[in-house]
């Protein structure tokens, strides 16, 4: 019997009212994510992927279609859906340990248990020794690791990440991506990653969903099918390059449409 999908996204349509009529950000998007899978959603800027992130996470309502997690319909935020945001989201007034312990605090765990569990996740993301530091003392990459640890500490059934590495430099991205993949494999954490970075998507995921430019639809679903661990050898293999090229040809078309659209709008006297 086929395993049931952990995350079911069915027929999502989201429109925004604007000054000149309205725009459809997302148009009939449907896909499934299996338990333990790492799925990436990739698309050009303006394809509605952040909107999808907010919809699946329950931060935004007022859309057509439905989102189901483990059989339960999503009608708002829920602790079983863990969200890692693109922007800086660590609490500057709490230490690393207190940041990671935050969801445990909300859940009402006792002080000692909180500290123990949080320390476990701090160690998982490789920040042992930094428990007593404040986020302002850490680098951007380290702060994102704290944010990830914090979300993992709430032990969500599904981990949603919205371009968490966007603000980081390339090397940090690669290293952090590696780390996240390691953790995901270890925890068998079901993960949906929103990204615009091609190599990252192929490197980390089991499947890649390619989105069109606005109105966003799923253009193609690509099975990455590369072996784990995704070490340097795998990343430099032919199969990897082939998959990347395949996705790029789809993406390039959409990205061009995005650029043309921007230019047309600026020419018409609006803002891009």
């Amino acid at each position: 019997m086929p395993a049931d999908a952990l995350l079911k996204v069915e027929g999502i349509v989201k429109r925004f009212a604007t000054a000149d009529g309205g725009i459809t950000a997302v148009d009939d998007v449907s896909f499934d994510v299996m338990p333990g899978e790492f799925v990436s959603l990739i698309g050009p800027s303006g394809c509605g992927k952040s909107t999808l992130f907010n919809i699946i996470g329950g931060l935004v309502g007022d859309y057509a279609g439905r989102v189901t997690v483990a059989g339960t319909r999503v009608t708002g935020t829920h602790p079983s859906i863990g969200m890692v945001f693109q922007e800086e989201s660590t609490f500057p007034w709490r230490t690393v340990l207190d940041n990671v312990a935050f969801p445990l605090e909300i859940a009402g765990l006792g002080k000692i248990e909180r500290a123990e569990r949080a320390a476990h996740f701090v160690k998982l993301v490789g920040l042992s020794g930094f428990e007593r530091r404040y986020p302002s003392e850490l680098s951007g990459g380290m702060r994102q690791r704290v944010a990830i640890a914090r979300t993992l500490a709430s032990e969500p059934r599904i981990l949603l990440m919205d371009e968490p590495f966007a603000a980081l430099d390339e090397q940090t991205r690669l290293l952090l991506g590696d780390k996240v993949l390691q953790i995901q494999q270890e925890l068998k954490q079901t993960t949906l990653l929103i990204t615009h970075n091609l190599t990252e998507a192929v490197q980390l995921s089991d499947r890649v969903l390619v989105m069109t430019y606005r109105p966003g639809k799923i253009k193609r679903i690509v099975d990455v099918g590369l072996p784990h661990p995704r070490d340097a050898e795998v990343v430099s293999s032919d199969a990897f390059g082939h998959t990347v090229a395949q996705i790029w040809s789809d993406l390039r078309e959409e990205a061009s449409r995005g650029i043309e659209d921007d230019e047309a709008r600026v020419r018409a006297g609006g803002k891009p």
Binding site: G76, G82, S89, Y134
Partner: protein
């Protein structure tokens, strides 16, 4: 160059200028001393600086400076208490009730620019010539910045932090105490500091004007006794006290924000 080394390098390079500044002030004081002794400046208008300095130990003892200092401090502490409770409280209220905020925020801004201390004759009538009048003026003078900065701090919470709270399904209460308030605290402290500085200035000023209280009253007293060196000495005390107060509140603000 490490950050610490760079910082000490710049402060080291500032030292000659700072010494120069201090030296110029001393030079002016010395010049005044000489001019008075030479008869170029009337000693009944400006007393000899040496006399002023000599007067200081005298007034500390005879005029009970420590006691007066404590009197003024008590007034400031009361004002601080009122500012923290009423000021921050009103700030939170304005943040919570958007319509109220839209309606009254400009009014509070106007209040910040208004000459509140001029109400002192009115407060004299209502509260009498007492410490209450002084505390109330201090409180009213410092209120506007506390309210404004509290609202600013709460409203300025980065949306992503609120989203983190929402994603963990925090209740409104939890959201306020665990996210909004801590995020706003640095700005709230800035407001409290501004409020306290305004309060202190007005408190000492009103002490002088109504001839009641601690340090401000001392200036008035000595002036009415025509004790020139004493008056200048007392004014010096007031200036030193406000400098120390200003500096202390700055340090307190920085200490309370270890994560910045």
């Amino acid at each position: 160059m490490s950050a610490a080394a760079a910082a000490s390098a710049t402060s080291a390079s500032r030292l000659p200028a700072q010494l120069c500044g201090a030296a110029s002030v001393l030079a002016v004081v010395a010049a005044v001393e000489l001019l008075i002794r030479a008869g170029a400046i009337n000693a009944f208008v400006i007393p000899l600086p040496s006399q002023v300095i000599a007067a200081i130990p005298r007034i500390v003892v005879e005029e009970h400076i420590p006691l007066r200092f404590w009197q003024t401090s008590k007034e400031v502490l009361w004002a601080a208490l009122l500012l923290a409770t009423v000021g921050i409280g009103l700030g939170v209220l304005l943040y919570r009730v958007r319509l109220l905020r839209l309606a009254t925020e400009t009014w509070v801004g106007a209040l910040a620019a208004a000459p509140i201390v001029l109400l002192f004759p009115l407060f004299l009538v209502i509260f009498g010539r007492s410490a209450t009048t002084i505390v109330m003026i201090g409180f009213c003078a410092g209120l506007a910045p506390v309210i404004l900065k509290t609202v600013e701090g709460l409203a300025g919470t980065r949306p992503v932090l609120i989203d983190v709270g929402r994603s963990l399904k925090l209740t409104r209460r939890q959201q306020f105490w665990k996210i909004l308030l801590p995020a706003a605290l640095p700005t709230v402290f800035v407001g409290m500091r501004l409020g306290l500085v305004f309060a202190m200035i007005n408190i000492v000023g009103v002490e002088y004007l109504i001839n009641f209280g601690g340090l401000g009253q001392l200036v008035n007293d000595l002036a009415e006794r025509y004790d020139l060196p004493g008056t200048y000495g007392a004014i010096l005390f007031v200036v030193l006290t406000s400098i120390v107060f200003f500096d202390l509140t700055e340090r307190l603000e920085r200490w309370l924000r270890p994560h910045r």
